[in-house]
């Protein structure tokens, strides 16, 4: 009878710790922080910057990587940021574009001040260096 409630609190305490100290969105993770803060999915976003010799470009998140980007924006831990960076690098290479590093930035929008306004605030940055740089496949 108590086990489900004990599990609920165990998960919720972990969620609170992750939200307070590791940038997990309070809306997610089983801690029931939804509708309590603007720090949710709609007010977080990801920036992708790809570098290579002669190339430095910001990419929009491709539809195929929406899921990976969503995870990284909701919980910008190294694991999810690296996964996304790796997927971007693989995709660039498949499409024949050079890539030596992928930078993933997780951002949120903070609403504050009088008059009220939104300001972008960087949560975390992760750079994946590819060594040796991935070259486009040769025909």
């Amino acid at each position: 009878m108590w086990l489900p409630t004990a599990l609920l609190f165990a998960v919720a305490v972990s969620q609170i710790v992750l939200a307070m100290f590791a940038n997990l969105s309070p809306w997610k993770g089983g801690g029931f922080g939804m509708f309590a803060t603007t720090d949710g999915t709609a007010y977080r976003f990801i920036r992708l910057i790809v570098d290579a010799p002669g190339r430095s470009e910001e990419l929009s998140v491709p539809a195929a990587l929406d899921e990976a980007a969503l995870r990284a924006q909701l919980f910008p831990a190294d694991y999810f940021l690296r996964q996304l960076a790796r997927a971007v690098a693989d995709r660039e290479q498949r499409q024949g574009r050079p890539v030596s590093s992928v930078r993933v930035e997780a951002w949120r929008i903070v609403y504050d001040g009088v008059p009220l306004r939104g300001t972008e605030q960087r949560l975390r940055t992760f750079t994946l260096h590819l060594s040796p740089p991935l070259e486009p496949p040769h025909e």
């Binding site: 009878m1 108590w2 086990l3 489900p4 409630t5 599990l7 609920l8 609190f9 998960v11 919720a12 609170i16 939200a19 307070m20 997990l24 969105s25 309070p26 809306w27 997610k28 993770g29 089983g30 801690g31 029931f32 922080g33 939804m34 509708f35 309590a36 803060t37 603007t38 720090d39 709609a42 007010y43 899921e67 969503l70 995870r71 909701l74 919980f75 929008i109 609403y111 504050d112 008059p115 009220l116 306004r117 939104g118 300001t119 972008e120 605030q121 960087r122």
Partner: protein, 298 residues
Amino acid sequence: MHVPLALRLTALTLLLRPMGPWTVRPLILLCAGVALLSPRALLRPLTWYTLAALIALRIAADWPVPDNHIYLLAYWCLAAALALGAGNGVGSHDGERHDSRPHYERVIATSGRLLIGSAFLLAVLWKAALSTDYLDGRFFRVTWLTDDRFSDTVQLLGGLSQPQLDHNRDVLKALPEGAELLHPPALEEPRAFLRLVLVSTWGMLVVESLIAATFLLPLGPRLSVVRHPLLLAFCVVTYAIAPVAGFGWLLLTMGVALCRREQRALRATYVATWFLVLLYSEVPWASLAIGWLGGSSG
């Protein structure tokens, strides 16, 4: 017969909102379908252990994306499995001295009560103590103005016109880190909108606090009757606006499990509200109301 009803509603919820990756989704649908069609499967602990495990797998596979009610659904399925496995002996439980319900019905009712109370307690903790932008009204100011899902509602209840809403969205567009506008434009917030922000911020907090208290505190039989109207009122109001029918269905399903056998009218009210939430999720009532008001005033 309220526990089988609650379990059927749980199965129906799972079927109405298929979830998870393809590796888990068909199995959840299959289990829920079998539970709905077979009275034997419905009351077998194995069915609910399996569903709890599959939903937990879904959470792990998609983490951290799943919403909070998916976690609650997993706990609820586990509670059902444990209760059904607890047997049918008769005895007293949960402070009910003359409760003649079978043991598993009392266990599942207590679990449901604790789960509802705990979920609301945590929701209150976040709003009142952990969040930095709830109590001053910023959360609802920003959400009402910028979330597309609430555009119709905020026009209907907040007295905002579409041009005002568009202006406010422009004002709230995020500036780059460190940037400042020389003459920052102000939001257009009519009195009705500010009232809506105030009522939604404090109304939500007060009702959620009351639900947490009445479901968790050991109230006597007289005081505990206020639990149900509070939960029903919360669901009727919240899920008319919030697009998370699955959460509403789950709370109402657990409410059904809390009803004693003789509380037929209460049980019927829960079921009617369950279907009301279904209607809310399928009928764009706020948009229809705006159209109707626009037509009747023009």
